[in-house]
Amino acid sequence: MIGDAFVQGFQMLLVLALAPLLTGVVRKVKARLLRRRGASVLQPYRDLLRLTRKEAVIAENASWLFRAAPYLVFAATWVAAALVPTFASGLLFSWSADLIAIVALLGSARFFQTLAGMDVGTSFGGIGSSREVMIASLAEPALLMVAFTLSLLAHSTQLSTITEVIRFSDVGLRISLAMVLVALVLVALAENARIPVDNPATHLELTMVHEAMVLEYSGRHLAMIEFGSALKLLLYLSLIGGVFLPFGMARTGDNLAAYGVGLAAYLAKLAVGAVLLAAFETAIAKMRVFRIPEFLGSALMLSFLATLLLFVSRGL
């Protein structure tokens, strides 16, 4: 119990500490792939610090929602990230929110984010929010169907249980898991505003979604939002790593060495994920906005088919 509590607390701080680093690594690898030197991997920390030190410029007609949203978005994302098993399963509070609740927490974050985009009443905020809800209307059901498939396999919607089942029972290679993996990767790309759905590095471009939504933010509010985005990326990579590559993860009752191994394995998984993401983003072009439904529609279809397969036969 005490151990679990410690693991839980440690994880909450760990995700906070690692999230900017992950973003930094992705940016660094992307720069190297483009034959640029790129900023240090620690640059996101410096950015966050710089933003918090600046004064916040708020539009004249912004309401309290505009100022509260960054904290709400950050909090919901942080809690969700803290409940995804990273280096150890058996988190103390994993029973308080299962995978469906984690998806819904991310939905809450998005709800406030999109509302904040509309608060000032600018056309950029509107376009960002409107496109974000379009993307979410397909990405969220796809993610839920992924959750369905995993829980049908594990007979549980608890993420800790799912990772343990996939790791220790003979789940093996399955068609449904492969489909779900592809669907989850597609959803992760869309939800984190990565190429080909959105470009995290642009401004002043009509195809942008996430950046258009947060255009009016500055100073500490922008810092919270950037931090939230970094946490979300970390969450998705942890989710993919934890569910599909649960190797090395420590369990309740393991000794300290096992936790060390778990931590090392987790960091390695994150590094691999960051490199793969950067390589993918460098290799592919951004797509038109109205191609996104096809992109996400295929994720939805794949995850739906995976669920259907499991309904038809437990062995697929």
Binding site: N61, S96, S108, F111, T114, M118, S123, S129, A136, S137
Partner: protein, 672 residues
């Protein structure tokens, strides 16, 4: 004489009817205007409290009054199922009445509302208390007619008479279906008493037909697609507190009717009964939201969202029926609890949202999203409460909408144990529709809230809106509190509805939730799934406060107000904001091209021509065009043909009568 909750409830209903009579007799005097709503609120609260205590004690009471048809009498019965829905009627009515104390002051023609309002409440209460088919149908029709009168209260506004007409036709059609269903249930002996129907063991013919008739009859009142067409016309046409009652409460009375007939009176279910329920429910859920996303009228948007939620409830009922037919008691109880909890939740947040829409209407005189905007500055309390309702209906944790949605997902996830192949394909598809509906609901309410309350005012009325009075905000606050409490302490509510679940799907299901560790929600087993709304609430609250405190302590506190940045080109005119239809455009393009045959056309003037470019959108309602329009056309044609019968000679009439007589006699001979 011992205290009888049923008798007390009937006295309360009698008081409501007396109040209606008094308001009608009072006519244009001032007294009814000041007294009706406060008295309705008191009576509603009393009915709610009686029902709640009866639900928690789990008594069954019956009473026969010498009214109605002589050889039947009027049976009234209060069991846990009636009590649950009576509580919804009572508390929903109480909230609406409190709200109306403030809202009703702005009513232009109170004499058209005040007499019907208490009668409408009485009608709804009578339906859930009815103990025989006759009483049920009479109360049902009374409820329909009273609500129709309220829909027609503002009959001079364009579109309202049409709404009232469509409502009347659909309500009559629904009652006809129910009449036939009860006729089949009563059998040749004519057992119109529910108790006799319940004890009629085995060998009842045509149970499947009864189910379909019940589904059509109650579904048309609840708003199940494709019988929903009247709902988005009629619900918004009524004054807002009536809209809230119709959407939040009357649809639940229809759900009650369906549960009563199907789970209680009809006997052991067949598995295939669940197929029409699950498919209609899933389709209704998604279709309702797709309609809602395209609406520019705030109240009509809410009405379509009611259609969606009714779909979700019917989906849960269908799952419960499938599990019950296959003898899976635990899963059946889970699905039933999800459906009932969603009914309670929907009553709470839909009333809240309609109250909010009414407050906006009071303050601005507008319900068109295109004329609103920026209300969060002018009406901070309403805006905050509407936001809470919007978050709850979008299924965001830790509010109540998420809990019932979560339970529904858990019910879908245990359904691979169903042996039938049809259900093995249908249930995951329904689960996907449910997931889609969950995401679309958030999109729909982000749009509604963002356009109406955020941004800059789009009309002078919105720019000069004033916060509404304490009665209106008070009623909204009570409902918002309910949404939060059910969300963070769902176990207590599930324990409260558990007796009704047992009545509907039998014993051996739901675990008691209040005794779980940390008040978690553990529907089946701890290793399978659990959710703790309180913990999520505390976690998110802690994380938000901690980060805010940290940032406050460490970061710069300086804030500067400046014009909006907007990439350097801010335009001060409010028309340059995203509008309701531009916000919906991506979704309209993704989903609408298929479902509504949306066509967008841009007319660009040729170069050199200074006339403006035009953009137009064509949206077709395929259900109306494909089902109702041909039906209306066929009825018109048939009426035209039959019209000829009015102009026959006396000899032709006589021969017609003679022919009919011969035909009937032949039929009778063949029959025997």
């Amino acid at each position: 004489m011992t205290f009888s909750a049923l008798a007390a409830a009937l006295w309360a209903i009698a008081a409501l009817l007396a109040l209606a009579g008094a308001a009608a007799a009072g006519g244009r005097t001032r007294a009814p205007k000041w007294l009706t709503y406060p008295l309705c609120a008191l009576i509603g609260a009393a009915i709610g409290a009686l029902a709640l205590s009866s639900l928690l004690q789990g008594d069954v009471e019956t009473l026969i009054l010498p009214l109605g048809v002589p050889w039947i009498g009027s049976h009234f019965r209060l069991d846990v199922l009636s009590a649950l829905f009576l509580a919804i009627v009572g508390f929903g009515g109480c909230a609406a009445s409190v709200y109306a104390i403030g809202y009703g002051r702005h009513e232009g023609s109170p004499a058209r509302v005040l007499p019907f309002y208490p009668a409408f409440l009485a009608g709804m209460s009578l339906v859930v208390l009815a103990g025989d088919a006759f009483t049920f149908l009479v109360s049902w029709e009374f409820m329909s007619v009273m609500s129709w009168a309220l829909v027609m209260a503002h009959h001079k506004e364009p579109g309202n008479t049409h709404a009232g007409y469509v409502y009347l036709v659909m309500a009559s059609f629904g009652t006809l279906a129910l009449l036939l269903a009860f006729g089949l249930l009563a059998g040749p002996q004519g057992h119109y008493d529910f108790a006799a129907m319940r004890s009629a063991v085995g060998g009842r013919p045509l149970t499947g037909l009864v189910l379909i008739l019940a589904l059509v009859g109650t579904g048309s009142k609840a708003g199940l697609a494709p019988l929903h067409v009247w709902l988005p016309l009629a619900h918004p046409a009524a004054p807002s507190h009536i809209s809230a009652l119709m959407s939040g409460v009357m649809t639940k009375v229809a759900i009650y009717g369906f549960i009563r007939i199907t789970y209680d009176l009809l006997g052991p279910p067949q598995w295939w009964w669940s197929v029409p329920l699950i498919s209609a429910g899933a389709l209704t859920a998604v279709l309702g939201l797709l309609y809602a996303i395209l609406q520019d009228d705030l109240k009509r948007l809410l009405a379509y969202s009611t259609v969606e939620n009714i779909g979700i409830i019917f989906l849960g009922l269908g799952l419960a029926l499938a599990f019950k037919a296959n003898g899976l008691a635990e899963a059946a109880a889970l699905a039933m609890a999800a459906a009932l909890l969603h009914a309670v939740n929907h009553a709470a947040f839909k009333s809240l949202l309609f109250f909010g829409a009414g407050a906006v209407l009071t303050a601005t005189g507008e319900r068109n999203l295109g004329a609103l905007g920026g209300l969060i500055h002018r009406m901070p309390l309403t805006a905050a409460l509407f936001l809470l309702g919007a978050a709850a209906i979008s299924g965001l944790p830790p509010l109540n909408g998420f809990v019932s949605e979560w339970l529904m997902f858990q019910a879908v996830l245990v359904s691979p144990t169903l042996p039938q192949w049809v259900l093995k394909f249908l249930v995951p598809a329904a689960g996907a529709m449910l997931a889609l509906a969950a995401a679309l609901a958030a999109a729909c309410f982000v749009r509604a809230y963002g356009i109406a309350f955020l941004g800059r005012p789009r009309s002078p009325a919105a720019a000069e809106a004033r916060e509404v009075d304490g009665f209106q905000t008070g009623a909204m606050m009570a409902l918002a509190l309910g949404c939060v409490l059910i969300g963070i302490l769902p176990g207590l509510v599930i324990d409260a509805v558990a007796p009704a679940v047992r009545l509907a799907v039998g014993d051996g299901g739901l675990r008691p939730q209040a005794t779980q560790d940390w008040l978690s929600l553990i529907p089946l087993s701890a290793s399978r799934s659990s959710y703790n709304g309180l913990m999520v609430f505390l976690f998110v609250g802690f994380a938000a406060l901690a980060s805010a405190a940290l940032v406050r302590g460490l970061a710069s506190k300086a804030v500067r107000r400046a014009p909006a940045w907007d990439c350097g080109y801010p335009d001060p005119r409010p028309v340059t904001q995203y509008s309701a239809s531009s916000f919906a455009q991506p979704l309209r393009r993704v989903f609408g091209t298929l479902v509504f045959r949306v066509r967008e056309t841009v007319e660009m003037p040729p170069p050199g021509d200074p006339s403006p470019a035009r953009f137009s959108v064509q949206v077709r309602d395929l259900i109306w065009d494909g089902l109702y329009a041909p039906l209306a056309w066929a009825i018109d044609k048939a009426a035209e043909r039959l019209n000829g019968l009015q102009f026959l000679t006396i000899r032709q009439y006589l021969s017609l009568v003679f022919g009919a007589l011969v035909l009937l006699l032949t039929l009778l001979t063949v029959w025997q």
